[in-house]
């Protein structure tokens, strides 16, 4: 209410005062005017009557010229105190007598006139004095107006009093009337204020008993009823909107379907509320739906309904099929619907059901089922709400799926990136390793050659010497194998891996025996006890593989298992045979520990090269090597692990089939009987020396040259001399002129002369079948005497 507005009370009062004041004023003005006019005429009349009477009485005095009598007659004017002057004139116009006596003639008109008139302060008049028809003279009279003025004053006083009284009465009456008039309005205003301030629309205005006000009150109450209804609807709508918003926000925070479904069902059960809610997922093409999620309350019904997570619900002809077609289906009372699924709901005590489709890209992928115990419990607004909600849920689900796909793509990308990086590192490492391997191979070549030569040619060696030499030879071979293996790190897959039959049980036993210090002695030193059990299936088919790689892999797995059990535990190595669906037989090796286990992240990353949980102690290459071996053997690797529960690593090899025959064993070297002229080309003097020594001991004529250049010249010179070499043995990697150029040059001079290439990368060349042109045979460093002899025999014979 504005400050400037006038209360109706005051307005009414003003109106009444104004009206009564105006009425009073007009009435009294009219009265005064009337009084004034009538008083004038009446006073003239009175004066005339008096004058006429006195005139009549003074006729005789005039007629008979009796001035004393005339004066006496005039004294009758005393009866009216307002008459201030009077005089009798005779017919000649002479003043005959005056009143009061002795009045100066100058106070009187010089000549008689006629009639009465109002002067400024007096009424003056002449009355003819006549007896019968005979006029005898004139009577002049003058009456002052004080009478009228005093009367007017009296009237004024009365008027003021009456006005005061009237207005007081008007005030009192208007107060009373106002009360009657305003009370209902004020009561109504109070009600309206109560409604406006408290927002309590249940308040109703009481009837007043006055027809118009009751009409007003009824209308007001009707309006309140309407507002109350609208308010209720609005509240419900706002409630649903906020619920929708709450659910939408909650689903937006979640990225996996089960959690989205759960939060939606929880909110619906709690806030809409519903008695039962579940999500069914639809697989396009399938004639049934799968229960994806049940609400907490719904689980109670779920058992009655036979609806359990992942159970299937057949799509019946009525509700669900229409819903699958993209339509929101509302069953006000399922007890009257004969289809199976509604009957199931009805059987569980649910009466009204809404099926709302979840649609993404115009494809229904699921159904939201909401049910209540009472029949016809869902309003059309709630159905609309559920429809909107379903759209939101569908969208959120779709987003969750997209998010999952995106996450997967991202993980894959990161994995790829990581792999690329690792490969780059491995490539560099491999190159380095390759260089080192070359040098080592060169370095150990003399040792290998001399040892083999000694063992072969010195029958008189003491047993101890022979033992030592044998040990040296095995060590050299181990070194050579280690160096070779070291270079395998950076290989994707060695297609040319030499596979042979491997008896897994034997390999397992060897590894268990070899690693005993690690799983038995070391833990015992710490006071821990590792209980290793082996369960080996027998018989077990062989597999095709590289035994040393398999042994290395098993060794790594056992080391890892022991490391996972710092306080000891059970370590089980198990082999078994398995037959998969298509009849293929597979051999399984399981290494199980009862250690700390791995969490999801660790499990996912454990195969990555350089990923380690062992800190400085680990290289991060163990499982990576295992994985590399698995890939090279076309095998499979499974890891089951749970934090605190231990880890099982399962290697799954294809079993060897009977059609695969074992590779023939390397036949014993057949030595060349006749002495050969051999040209040796190498840049390593030690290697040259040892090769020369051992070949010369075999009776060959050996010319040793340092470097490619020298070798080519020597070969050319010998050819000129006609003493052509029978065979050329050249190193591959040499400064300036390498083995390939030497071979080319030799073949250029003498195409029939065989060329044997020695290489620190030899195994790789062999493996990749990368034998250069003009090279007849590639031998790996360190060269074995028997291999060399075999090559010579093969090439020269």
């Amino acid at each position: 209410m504005s400050k400037s507005s006038t209360p109706i009370r005051r307005t009414l009062m003003n109106m009444i005062f104004l009206a009564s004041g105006v009425v009073l004023l007009v009435t009294s003005s009219a009265f005064c005017a009337y009084e004034f006019l009538t008083f004038r005429s009446s006073s003239i009349q009175q004066l005339q009557i008096l004058t006429r009477a006195i005139a009549s009485n003074s006729t005789a005095a005039l007629a008979f010229e009796n001035a004393e009598d005339a004066a006496g007659v005039l004294t009758a004017f005393k009866s009216d105190p307002h008459i201030v002057a009077a005089a009798l004139y005779d017919m000649r116009g002479k003043v005959f007598a005056t009143y009061p006596q002795g009045l100066g003639l100058d106070r009187l008109p010089a000549r008689p006139g006629s009639g009465f008139a109002f002067g400024r302060s007096a009424v003056v008049g002449f009355q003819p004095v006549a007896e019968g028809s005979k006029q005898l003279g004139f009577l002049y009279v003058e009456s002052d107006l004080n009478a009228m003025y005093s009367r007017m004053k009296l009237y004024g006083l009365i008027l003021v009093l009456v006005a005061a009284l009237s207005l007081s009465l008007a005030y009192l009456i208007s107060r009373r009337l106002q009360h009657r008039l305003l009370q209902p309005i004020l009561a109504l205003a109070d009600t309206a204020r109560a409604v406006a301030e408290r927002h309590d629309y249940t308040v109703r205005a009481a009837p007043t008993g006055a027809y118009e006000f009751d009409l007003f009150t009824d209308t007001f109450n009707q309006m309140l009823t309407q507002i109350q209804g609208s308010e209720g609807k609005l509240q419900a709508q706002v409630g649903r909107l906020s619920l929708l918003q709450q659910i939408t926000r909650a689903t937006g925070e979640r990225q996996d379907l089960p959690s989205i479904f759960q939060v939606v069902l929880g909110s619906l059960e709690e806030n809409l509320p519903i008695d039962f809610g579940c999500f069914l997922l639809h697989d396009p093409g399938a004639a049934s739906l799968t229960v994806a999620a049940l609400g907490r309350k719904g689980s109670r019904f779920g058992e009655h309904l036979g609806l359990l997570p992942q159970s299937a619900v057949p799509i019946d002809a009525n509700g669900l099929s229409r819903c699958i077609a993209g339509e929101l289906v509302h069953e006000p009372d399922v007890s009257r619907v004969s289809f199976p699924f509604p009957q199931r709901l009805s059987g569980a005590g649910l009466r009204s059901v809404v099926f709302s489709p979840l649609i993404v890209e115009s494809q229904v992928f699921g159904v939201l089922v909401c049910a209540r115990g009472e029949a016809e419990a869902f309003s059309s607004r709630e159905c609309e709400f559920l429809k909107q909600l379903s759209e939101h849920v569908a969208l959120a689900s779709h987003q969750a799926r997209l998010h999952g796909a995106l996450q997967q793509a991202y993980d894959d990308l990161r994995q790829s990136q990581h792999t690329v990086m690792q490969q780059e590192r491995l490539r560099a490492l491999g190159q380095m390793a390759s260089g080192i391997a070359h040098d080592i191979n060169n370095a150990i070549s003399p040792v290998s050659l001399y040892t083999e030569s000694l063992l072969e040619r010195e029958p008189n060696l003491s047993e101890r010497t022979r033992n030592y030499l044998t040990t040296i030879q095995r060590a050299i071979e181990d070194v050579a194998r280690t160096v070779a293996r070291m270079r395998e790190f950076y290989r994707e897959r060695d297609a040319q891996l030499t596979l042979e039959r491997v008896e897994i049980n034997r390999s397992v036993q060897q590894v268990v025996e070899l690693t005993k210090p690690r799983w038995s002695d070391l833990p015992q030193a710490r006071g821990a006890m590792v209980d290793l059990q082996t369960y080996l299936a027998d018989p077990l088919p062989d597999i095709m593989g590289a035994e040393h790689e398999i042994r290395d892999a098993l060794t790594n797995l056992i080391f890892n298992a022991v490391d996972a059990m710092p306080t000891g535990g059970a370590l089980t190595v198990r082999t078994r045979r398995a037959t998969v669906a298509d009849g293929e037989t597979r051999v399984l090796i399981e290494v199980t520990d009862s250690g700390v286990g791995m969490d999801e992240d660790t499990r996912r990353r454990c195969l990555e090269p350089f990923y380690t949980t062992k800190g400085e102690r680990g290289t991060g290459l163990g499982l990576a090597m295992v994985y590399g071996m698995i890939q090279r053997h076309s095998a499979e690797l499974e890891i089951d692990s749970e934090p605190g529960k231990g880890t099982t690593v399962r290697l799954n090899f294809p079993a060897v089939t009977s059609s695969i025959v074992s590779l023939p064993k390397a036949k014993s070297a057949a030595a060349v009987k006749r002495p050969l002229r051999i040209l040796l080309v190498d840049d390593d003097p030690l290697l040259i020396k040892s090769l020369q020594d051992t070949l010369q001991e075999d009776g060959h004529l050996v010319t040793a040259t340092h470097g490619g250049h020298e070798g080519i010249e020597a070969f050319a010179a010998a050819a000129k001399r006609g003493e052509c070499f029978d065979i050329v043995v050249t190193d591959l990697g040499m400064p300036h002129i390498d083995g390939r150029k030497v071979a080319t040059s030799v073949k250029g001079v003498s195409p029939t002369t065989p060329v044997v290439l020695l290489t620190g990368w030899g195994q790789r060349l062999i493996a990749t079948n990368d034998a250069p042109a003009h090279v007849d045979k590639v031998l790996a460093k360190p060269p074995r005497l028997h291999e060399l002899r075999a090559a010579l025999a093969e090439l020269v014979a």
Binding site: T59, A63, F64, E68, E131, G132, K134
Partner: protein, 190 residues
């Protein structure tokens, strides 16, 4: 000097005026008989005659004078063209009562010259509604209805109400009020 001469002249003028005024007043001032003539006529307005006083409606209202006529033409002038209740006024003069005879008068002025024969006159007027008026001293006491009496140079009326009533005349109270009421046989004052 000039002032003195002015005053003197004013005095002279005033004196002259006074003399003229006195002369005029003497010439103009109504004589006693003149006044009486008017009065005589005025009586017709203050006295009511019985209706049978006129034999016929067109009969004149007659003012008669018996004896010497003190009024002369003045009375005739006073009544000239006057009417009383539709009756024209006529003045008739009688030398003696015998001339009256059957002639009916409404007002009869009895001059003091006829006072000796007053009784005879009044007797003659018996049964006549005639207002009798005289200026003779003591007339009222002797039965004349209205007597003019001069007091302090003013004419006063003395009225014998009994005589008037006996004659069937009604004298207006207005006339009676300034007059002196005299009964028949009453002693004359002074």
């Amino acid at each position: 000097m000039a002032l003195l001469r002015g005053k003197l002249r004013l005095l002279l003028v005033a004196g002259a005026c006074l003399i003229v005024a006195q002369a005029l007043g003497a010439a103009d001032a109504p004589t006693e008989s003149q006044v009486q003539a008017v009065f005589l006529f005025n009586f017709s307005r203050f006295v009511e005659w019985p209706p049978q006083t006129f034999a016929a409606p067109g009969d004149p209202f007659v003012i008669g004078i018996v004896g010497a006529d003190p009024f002369g033409a003045r009375l005739d002038e006073a009544v000239h063209n006057e009417q009383i209740n539709g009756h024209s006024l006529t003045v008739r003069r009688f030398r003696n009562i015998s001339e009256l005879d059957n002639d009916n008068c409404q007002i009869l002025f009895i001059d003091r010259s006829e006072i000796a024969r007053l009784g005879q006159i009044l007797t003659a007027l018996d049964h006549h509604s005639t207002l009798t008026v005289s200026q003779a001293d003591g007339a009222a006491q002797r039965g004349v209805m209205i007597q003019f009496a001069t007091e302090n140079n003013r004419i006063r009326l003395r009225i014998n109400v009994d005589s008037a009533r006996a004659a069937g005349l009604t004298i207006s109270s207005k006339l009676l009020r300034p007059a002196e009421i005299i009964g028949t046989g009453a002693k004359e004052e002074r």
